[in-house]
Symmetry: C2
Subunit: 146 residues, 2 copies
């Protein structure tokens, strides 16, 4: 189930506990939904999916849980322009490509040295806590292995 990019289920509770937080059914299900279908769903989409398992969950809880997971680095939030925030359980360094035609978002793995080179452009005194590299455009199905 887990690969090098994600936190295995058994560490999930621990990671939360490390931040003084509890593992709850809502948090677990939401995290598993993100692992299950890696299509960068929005909060609304997560809400729709989680209701199948927890029919009484509220949208506010979905937002709360997602924010919590982002806060303890179990999940990354991805933003494109004025689009709703999307969520991604891939913790490996990667960029994002947003296909404007399809509306879909894809992970693009980053060569490890490249992230370092990008970080290196910051002048002294600029202390970055996060970096985001994002592309927008079209994917050409014929040309891609896709």
């Amino acid at each position: 189930m887990s690969d090098s990019t994600t936190v295995p289920q058994e560490n999930f509770a621990q990671t939360l506990a490390d931040s003084g937080l509890r593992s709850t059914p809502q948090r677990e299900v939401i995290y598993s939904i993100l692992l299950n279908k890696r299509d960068h769903p929005t909060a609304d989409e997560v809400y729709a999916r989680v209701k199948a398992e927890l029919p009484t969950i509220s949208l506010a809880t979905v937002y709360n849980c997602l924010e919590t997971l982002v806060g303890c680095n179990l999940v990354r939030a991805v933003n494109f322009d004025r689009e709703p925030t999307r969520y991604c359980p891939n913790l490996r360094p990667h960029a994002h490509f947003h296909d404007d035609e399809a509306g879909s978002t894809h992970d693009i793995d980053l060569p490890p040295d490249l992230l370092d080179r990008v970080k290196a452009i910051l002048p002294p005194g600029y202390n970055a806590s996060s970096i985001e590299i994002s592309f927008r455009g079209r994917t050409v199905p014929e040309a891609a292995n896709n």
Copy 2:
């Protein structure tokens, strides 16, 4: 007034005309406001500044004009997380750094080859029309020349 990063006033009308658009007082003033103070203002901030010169302008027009200028590549829109969109007349390749403490946004010039290297990570079939590299964090005044 203009430098290598911006469009000189005399080309402004032409650039609009190339897209079948007119140069209007509202568009001109808004563009000059962006040139004048390069602090990445939001639409609201532009609105406040433009009212000094055009007191009857509406917020909708500010949004319209900014979108128009972005559309014909006179201006770039910059987004950070869920913050309001900011606008920037710097057309040179550059990244953005958002200082969470001060709420300010800074341009970070990109070495020309770096943008190419970043573009090169895209698999075949991924056709990017725009790239954005953005940092969030703090700036440390003591360490910076700033």
